[in-house]
């Protein structure tokens, strides 16, 4: 059986799923001061109904790193960076222990200027004197040649508790993002491993010996052991867990809009041919763009508890939430109250809702029920406009070949899937606003925990093969090897698949076969010098996409 735990902002949800159905579910309040206690409480509830030995796998989604960053509970990080020529260093300077060192590597990976040991020594000394124990080692173009990052790591190793090494975080090119990713990764590292240690101890105490994976923001998981070196990847995994829950609960194979309607906000995601879209570069953390990949979502300030206001005869919904609905003892009329008035909702005390809307309507001369209907319609149109905006933005994303430009896919959603507390109440008005069929999956209230339980490992690699230099590299797997001048694009694709599979097998990740690996990019460029071909520049990018354990899908339908 699989145990999924989602530590959310308000509640911690857990579900226990076997191939024949959901065996247990738990919901406990999240204690922000003690996330560990919330996790233990949820596990305790689950184990009332389930034998710990039956648990084969735990998947955990946690807000720990998210909270640490929001609350700025960050450990000081010594950043040792070589930038070389290019954009001004002000664009990538981060933290109070940022040391910009001499040294430069160019886009082909040639070391153009060495990193002087004396400068490195001085920077390390300064960090030591300041009591800094965790570090980031990042150099420009390190995915092309990590030699200077390795030099920094060698110098730091005797003193450092932890070092985030730029090229191992991602093979994608973006130096300022690599700097910020390394910074946050080191800044949350200690808090994260303390937490994971404690969770693992707690799990063992409960008599569970299963393996544990950690959810990421891209809708997939990583082994707990891997997460100890890349804790930043555990950030913002909550929305991704919910989206993967929808994937588990529904058969989606078309372009679709996914809405998660909460009390204050609605999160919007878009699926292409049934698969969630992932931000190609990464999300911003603390205002800094990073290389942490995430499911693309947009948030709009409209939810069930959004205040309904009449202002100069005009209806306005949200973005403020002043409390729950009048029907639940709140101070002002909300969308939920509007639902009570129109009759689509039966929440709390409908008399309070009716009174609130009578009062609102008095100023307008409109019938209270009509006003409530218009309030809901207006709110749903705002959600629709935001979703359309996101689709338009995604369709406008640049492409780099004539083939893609002329024949590329255009997203065109055919279906809307809704989850969250007010989902059922708003389904009909959403269908009106979107002009599309709307589905509310039966178990949408625990979609987050189901998604957490059933989602699988994701991983991506970028491979570069340069037959002029006779070198192949996969930066985030720290692979560099010799190739022949005859190495082809097909060889590169095969090598990319092989290395990715080998990595996953080393992590003891089961049920991975070759056809689950998707080749996202495979290009080969002839390198010409003076009208002669001197080699091929081959770029391959492979990924294991977010997906759901197929064997358990029927169990949750």
């Amino acid at each position: 059986m699989l145990l999924g735990i989602d530590v959310g902002g308000t509640h911690t949800d857990a579900v226990m799923i076997a191939t024949n159905g959901i065996h247990a579910a738990a919901k406990v309040p999240t204690d922000h001061e003690d996330l560990l206690a919330s996790v233990n409480a949820a596990i305790g509830e689950i184990l009332r109904d389930v034998d710990p030995d039956a648990i084969r796998q735990i998947n955990l989604s946690t807000t720990l790193t998210t909270n640490a960053i929001i609350e700025e509970k960050l450990e000081p990080v010594g950043m040792l960076v070589t930038g070389g020529p290019g954009i001004a260093p002000g664009h990538y300077t981060i933290g109070r222990h940022f040391h910009l060192l001499r040294g430069a590597i160019d886009h082909r990976g040639t070391e153009q200027e060495p990193l002087p040991d004396a400068e490195l020594d001085a920077a390390v000394e300064a960090c030591r004197a300041a009591g800094v124990r965790v570090f980031g080692a990042v150099t420009k173009f390190s995915p092309r040649n990590p030699v200077q990052e390795e030099q920094i790591v060698r110098r730091l190793q005797p003193d450092a508790d932890f070092i985030s090494i730029g090229h191992t975080l991602s093979g994608r090119l973006n130096f300022p993002r690599r700097v910020a990713t390394a910074f946050y990764n080191s800044a949350v590292w200690r808090a994260y491993i303390d937490f994971i240690d404690a969770v693992e101890t707690g799990v063992r105490k409960h008599g569970i010996s299963a393996r544990m994976d950690i959810l990421k923001a891209d809708g997939g998981t990583m082994p707990a052991a891997v997460s100890r070196t890349v804790p930043v990847q555990s950030i913002l995994s909550g929305p991704a867990a919910s989206i993967m829950g929808i994937v588990a609960l529904c058969d989606i194979d078309e372009d679709a809009v996914i809405l998660d309607i909460g009390g204050t906000t609605t999160d919007i995601a878009v699926f292409a041919d049934g698969a969630p879209l992932v931000e190609p570069d990464g999300i911003a953390i603390g205002g800094h763009p990073t290389l942490v990949r995430a499911v693309i979502t947009r948030s709009i300030g409209i939810g069930g508890d959004s205040e309904v206001v009449v202002e100069n005869g005009d209806l306005r919904i949200g973005p403020r939430r002043r409390g729950p609905a009048l029907a639940c003892g709140g101070p002002v009329p909300t969308l939920i109250d509007a639902g009570n008035v129109t009759g689509t909702a039966q929440v709390g005390n409908p008399t309070a809702s009716a009174a609130g809307f009578r009062e609102l309507a008095a100023a307008t001369g409109i019938d209270p029920e009509e006003l409530a209907r218009r309030a809901i319609a207006r709110a749903m149109e705002q959600i629709r406009d935001a979703a359309h905006g996101l689709v338009t933005e995604l369709n406008a994303r640049p492409v780099y070949t004539i083939h893609e430009l002329l024949t590329g896919k255009t997203l065109s959603p055919r279906q809307v899937y809704v989850m969250g507390g007010p989902a059922a109440v708003l389904a009909e008005p959403l269908a009106q606003a979107f002009g599309l069929p709307v589905t509310v999956p039966a178990r949408h209230a625990v979609a987050n925990a189901i998604g957490a339980a059933l989602t699988r490992t994701t991983m991506e690699i970028e491979l570069l093969a340069d037959t002029e230099r006779k070198e192949l590299s996969i930066p985030n797997l720290d692979i560099r090897q010799k190739i022949s001048f005859q190495f082809t694009l097909a060889d590169a694709v095969a090598a990319g698949r092989e290395h990715l599979l080998a990595f996953l097998r080393r992590q003891q990740i089961e049920d991975i076969d070759d056809d689950m690996i998707q080749v996202v990019e495979a290009d080969s460029f002839n390198m010409i010098s003076n009208y002669f071909t001197v080699g091929r520049n081959i770029r391959v990018s492979c990924q294991l996409k977010p997906s759901i354990r197929a064997a358990y899908r029927e169990a949750v339908r």
Partner: protein, 447 residues
Amino acid sequence: MSTDHRRLGIIFFPAYDWAIDATHPEREERLLYTQDQLREEGIFDLPGISEHKPEVATAGMIERVHFCIPEVDAVTTPSHLIAAGGAVTAARLVMEKKVDRAFAMVRPPGHHAMKVVHGNRGFCSLNNEAVLVEYLREECGVRRIAIVDTDCHHGDGTQDIYWHDPEVLFISLHQDGRTIFPGTGFVRENGGPNAIGATVNIPLPPQTGDEGFLTVMERVVLPILEAFKPEIVINSAGQDNHYTDPITNMSFSAAGYARLNEMLNPHIAVLEGGYAIQGALPYTNLGICLAMAGHDFSAVREPDYDPERLRQSARVSEYIDTLCAQVMELHRRPPAPAGTPGEFAVRDKSIYYDTDGITEEQTERVLICRACAGLRIIETRASSFPLSICIEIPFAACRSCREAGEKHLREAKNSLRYRLIKLIDRPGKNVESFSDQDVSPRSKYFF
């Protein structure tokens, strides 16, 4: 976001699946390292900088600029329509105020493509800047436009298209035509009889460095722009003046390109040539982007940049001093317009399409007119296509030029001498193409 930053839209389209041929400089790999550099520098994450997809130029956008013989499809591939479309997208973003500045980093280039197109010359088939200028005039109501061509080769195509047009100022800085393709662009080439002074050529000696280019900007380009008062300034941004370029002989640097763009402050830049794809383009493109967006570019330099080695000689500096004085003298005291209004001024031209190996003989007649760019009639015969005639009633044509155009079209149809008769009627927003087999138009577009 600091207030001196500008919103810059970058239309990056490297056409990774198109080349003139496998080992040609204009090939798939050309912008690969530029993309690596721009990505690694995090350019697209800088405040105000955004990346955009190019549109595909429509046949109407092309046909109101060029006489394509026999038709657009015959002389272009989708790559050309996308490069031209990218230039239009740049203009659209600026005119719709979505950005303050836009850079179309597209390929293939366009500035050697002339009014009549039989094929590809100097790697160019369609003039991307002209397609963009006519979009600005036809669809955005812009009237006065300046194109500053900073490619190392003379922008002979753009010059040919706007030779008679007093409302489009064309300034070209380039390596002296006596030493490089296409062999034109001398100081005395300063515009047709209806547009004297609206073409400015500054042929620079080989080994001109940063100092020389920036001197020309300060003493010639900026004062002439100041006097012309364009609503929109376009940089036809070739990057082959770079000291590492394999097919030119100049000593310009990435920092120099950035500084030039800071001085020029163009609304729109369109990539032209530049074939040092590893040693130059990643750095020049980075410098131009930063300068256009108003970001600090002081740390942009090539790995092998050595200002001492690249410093231009005293002889080159002296030559450029004299050249600047000459150009300004001609600009301040242009020769009186030749000819009499109502008469035709005639030029004969031989044009060689180096990429496609086509030779063309042209006789161009333009009606001398003080009110508009003048009716333009081009008889063309190419090694690839028999005698044809092209009639252009220009943008904002006066009534008598319009009437003359209609009369000459009738005469051409009656003469039975031409395989093709092509008309661009800008005031009528109409282009037509007739073949000698047929009196009804083979094709007809309204734009």
